[in-house]
């Protein structure tokens, strides 16, 4: 335990901690903060979000036909409010636009009318006009569930779609903007985590090889067992990083105020994502977290292998480049985002993880066996 503690302490040197913080700050500033600051991103997404939140408060987790009627009535009330507003605007009345129907059918080719339209919607940002638009979209989605199944799908995919419609999972008051926002955020957070792991693992073996400490380590009682203990060190350090990064991320994510969507099925008609499994948004979040941990563990095995074979830091960086491309691109797209999507094979994720973990373990095991008999 003391050895593990000492080795972990060596990895978290002041310089490395500073570098990790710098990289984290940069990635948050460049990629992640935007998704926090601008969620929902503009209008009518903000209005969709507000309408969906109100639906959740008014109707609970799903909307039955009676509640749908109520939803439509609220929309009619909003139309009446919009009409009242239009009547109060002299320019609109003068232009002959004093009902919402007239407003929505305005000839926007007409420069004068287009200017008036733009003033209400984009200059004065009158909420009611945006809300009606958002409610229209929700009503359209709800009234046409067949669109849920409009892609050319395989027999299994069709069967899954039918199963979801029958079970009522599609009626969940969920929204794609929450799902998309989470997926984008998680991709960047995963990339940041993997980048952190690469940085922290780089000196794992190289440092002691380069400064000849290895000679003292391998002639001590612990001897070459230290090679495997260093892997444990790498795993511990990486788990600390993953946990700390995720904890910070979810702390920040609280600000997006999406917790009310946690118990809802992600297979909603209001979401563009369909899963092979009956998952709630919270379960999906747990699944992504689990996948980040698993990919992190695989990265530790590969990163440790690189650190053990690379003669210097430059070579190590060079070997990390293709790994980073693979992991940040394909890895996060298929193994962190879009998990269990119906448009990919249902076994893709478990099989990919099994292969990745087995191969990376074999790679390290091969290196470990060589190290045991290597001339130093």
């Amino acid at each position: 335990m003391r050895i593990l503690f000492n080795e972990v302490r060596k990895l978290f040197s002041v310089k490395i901690i500073f570098l990790l913080l710098l990289v984290s700050f940069f990635v948050y500033q460049q990629f992640i903060m935007f998704e926090f600051k601008h969620f929902p991103n503009g209008r009518p997404l903000l209005d969709d979000f507000r309408a969906t939140q109100k639906m959740l408060v008014d109707y609970g987790e799903s909307m039955d036909s009676e509640e749908f009627q109520d939803f439509k009535e609220i929309k009619e009330q909003r139309i009446a409010e919009a009409t009242e507003y239009l009547k109060s605007q002299k320019e609109m009345v003068a232009a002959g636009i004093d009902t919402y129907e007239e407003f929505s059918n305005m000839d926007l080719e007409n420069v004068k009318l287009a200017a008036l339209h733009s003033k209400i919607v984009f200059e004065d940002y009158v909420d009611v006009f945006w809300e009606i638009q958002a409610r229209d979209w929700i009503i359209d989605r709800y009234e046409h569930p067949e669109r849920f199944n409009e892609h050319e799908l395989t027999q299994e995919q069709n069967a899954r779609m039918d199963e979801l419609v029958e079970s009522g999972a599609t009626e969940a008051i969920f929204t794609d903007m929450v799902f998309e926002n989470y997926n984008v955020l998680m991709k960047y957070v995963a990339i940041l985590i993997f980048l952190n792991i690469m940085i922290i693992l780089m000196p794992l073996y190289i440092r002691d090889k380069r400064n000849h400490v290895q000679l003292l380590q391998y002639t001590s009682k612990t001897g070459r067992k230290l090679f495997s203990q260093k892997l444990l060190t790498g795993l511990t350090a990486s788990l600390i990083i993953i946990t700390a990064q995720l904890a910070f991320f979810f702390f920040m994510y609280r600000g997006n105020d999406t917790s009310m969507f946690f118990p809802l099925s992600i297979n909603s008609i209001f979401n563009f994502f369909v899963s092979w499994y009956d998952l709630t948004f919270f379960q999906y979040i747990i699944l992504t977290v689990l996948c980040v941990y698993l990919l992190g563990i695989a990265l530790v095995l590969v990163g440790a292998w690189i650190s053990s074979i690379a003669p210097n830091y430059m070579t190590s960086v060079g070997l990390h480049v293709p790994l980073a491309f693979l992991l940040f691109g394909t890895g996060t797209t298929y193994l962190v985002q879009n998990l269990t999507t119906i448009y990919l094979n249902p076994y893709l994720v478990p099989i990919s993880f099994a292969i990745i973990l087995v191969l990376s373990s074999l790679l390290f095991l091969w290196r470990y066996r060589r190290e045991k008999v290597k001339n130093i």
Binding site: I3, L215, L216, Y218, T219, K221, N375, I376
Partner: protein
């Protein structure tokens, strides 16, 4: 007892050591050979960093490779290139190594304090090593080798970087330690081992040439070493005729110590050979080629 039996070490086609047979009991053993002769290879095999191509090394009858950590916990090793972390203090670094050596933390803390006093580094015990001189670093290396109170202490070029005072202090320390343990000291500096080694091991052409006491080894060239005065003009001629062992200018001429198997001339004064004379005699090919290169 540590026994090296018929040990050969090859690196691919290159033969580093051939059929080495050695026996070590408690005492100081000086492993003496020029650089590149295979000293470090032998030492690395004694510390399990290298594995013999043929033969075996046994401690009390058991193969050291099979003994694994039971053997390593008995050895103390100072490599030729002593590695350390610049940002660590001697105390924190020795405690780090103590953990690897399986020494209990409380015991280690006391031991580290003692050792730092022994190597006269107690006043900088908690200072970062990045500001240390070569001699100070080497003393940290000596301290770490003794951390586990080893039964076998193996030191590869331990006096590199030490000043004369530190060398004397170190030699005295080794003499004390060697009473109840094996101390193997590899060096190419003859004075490091001449006064303290119970036995000297000399390696030439990848094989053990001598393993004997200093006096017995010196006896090999008894009656062949002389001293004489030579005029400056004759110096070059003298050097090419005889093996010059040491030279100094004195009273307007050159005072030369040399070795020859020729019949002695009246002006030559026969002297007792020392270990350095033997060293230069044995490795004269290397010495001469070094001179020519220089």
């Amino acid at each position: 007892m540590l026994i090296v039996e018929d040990v050969t070490k090859n690196f691919g086609q290159f033969h580093a050591l051939k059929n080495i047979n050695l026996e070590f009991h408690n005492g100081v053993y000086g492993l003496l050979a020029p650089n590149g002769a295979g000293k470090t290879t032998l030492i690395k095999m004694l510390t399990t960093l290298l594995f013999p191509t043929r033969g075996s090394i046994r401690y009390d009858g058991e193969d050291i490779i099979k003994m694994d950590e039971r053997y390593r916990e008995m050895i103390g090793y100072l490599p030729q290139e002593f590695g350390y972390y610049k940002n660590y203090s001697p105390t924190s670094y020795l405690l780090y190594l103590a953990a690897l050596k399986g020494i209990h933390r409380k015991t280690a803390i006391t031991r580290v304090e003692e050792l730092l006093k022994t190597v006269a580094l107690d006043h900088v015990a908690n200072k970062k090593m990045k500001k240390f001189s070569g001699g100070m670093i080497q003393r940290v290396g000596i301290a770490q080798a003794m951390l586990n109170d080893p039964k076998i202490l193996i030191l590869d070029e331990p006096t590199a970087g030490l000043d004369p005072k530190e060398r004397v202090r170190f030699r005295n320390l080794l003499t004390n330690l060697a009473r109840d343990r094996i101390v193997i000291l590899s060096t190419h500096i003859v004075s490091d081992v001449e006064s303290i080694a119970n036995e000297i091991i000399m390696i030439k052409n990848q094989e053990v040439l001598y393993k004997d006491t200093v006096s017995n080894i010196c006896r090999k060239i008894d009656g062949l070493v002389y001293e004489t005065e030579v005029s400056y003009e004759q110096t070059e001629q003298f050097r090419t005729t005889y093996l010059s062992l040491s030279e100094k200018q004195e009273n307007g001429s050159m005072y030369m110590r040399f070795l020859t198997e020729d019949t002695a001339k009246p002006e030559w004064k026969s002297v007792h050979p020392n270990l350095e004379d033997v060293f230069l005699y044995i490795y004269q090919d290397g010495v001469r080629s070094d001179d020519q290169t220089a």
